[in-house]
Subunit: 145 residues, 2 copies
């Protein structure tokens, strides 16, 4: 999706964010992962043992989608589900070694994309941009971790 006019700052933000997303999606596509799957896998690397409930909340998707999405990841042995703590109702989900390695590759690719996008700015400009963006995001609802 292109931004239509690119006049206001936030149209520019939309455009940049979209360019990032497209690059990331290209990367995961080549590995036959969906955007949602890569996000969930990334979350599991940072939060091993998260419940499906947690995953649904953080990725702002439905519990039903998480269920089928994890089925796919489990089939490819990127993820494991177990019941623990004598709790048969909740399932804890863990990324496997293969899953963690995949995510490491993804994050490296995204960092490279970010570097490309920021290339036109020098150090002081980057610092200024970061300060302005931080000021904006401070006002928005914080992400859940």
């Amino acid at each position: 999706m292109d931004a239509p006019k690119l006049t206001t700052s936030l149209e520019l933000v939309r455009w940049i964010g979209w360019a990032q997303m497209r690059a990331g999606e290209d990367w995961v596509r080549e590995r036959e992962l969906s955007h949602a799957q890569s996000f969930v896998l990334g979350y599991l690397v940072q939060k091993p043992g998260a419940s499906q409930r947690d995953i649904a909340e953080v990725s702002r998707t439905s519990a039903a989608s998480v269920s089928s999405l994890l089925q796919g990841l489990e089939r490819r042995e990127l993820v494991e589900r177990r019941s623990e703590d004598g709790n048969e109702r909740t399932k804890r989900v863990y990324a496997t070694v293969a899953g963690a390695e995949l995510i490491a590759g993804f994050e490296a690719a995204m960092a490279a994309v970010d570097e490309t996008i920021l290339a036109p700015l020098d150090e002081s400009e980057r610092a200024a941009l970061h300060a302005l963006l931080t000021k904006i995001t401070g006002q928005l609802a914080q992400p859940t971790r």
Copy 2:
């Protein structure tokens, strides 16, 4: 989708862009439009008479999706398709008055969201942000119009 850590500038950009998109999606959802439909309708308001080919290219979606997407918009009388210029192969698409009104409401809503997001910045900060973002986007592939 939340951004995971929010440390780098581009993670912040992702986060802001995502907040915008979510707000926009809420708005169109209430009107029973998909994100893709609202985008296409918006494009048609700016480019009356675009071909389906054009629409697919600009919205970076498949011609097949455009086809069924326009069927939905046509059923709701937000859009019209006609063949013109003695050309029976290409169909030209136009937003109806109702369609244009819907988009006007959408854009007003998005402008309000943007204002809320930018609220923490004063005039000079906004100018600085705009300059930095322009410098970045100048390097990226320009949108197709």
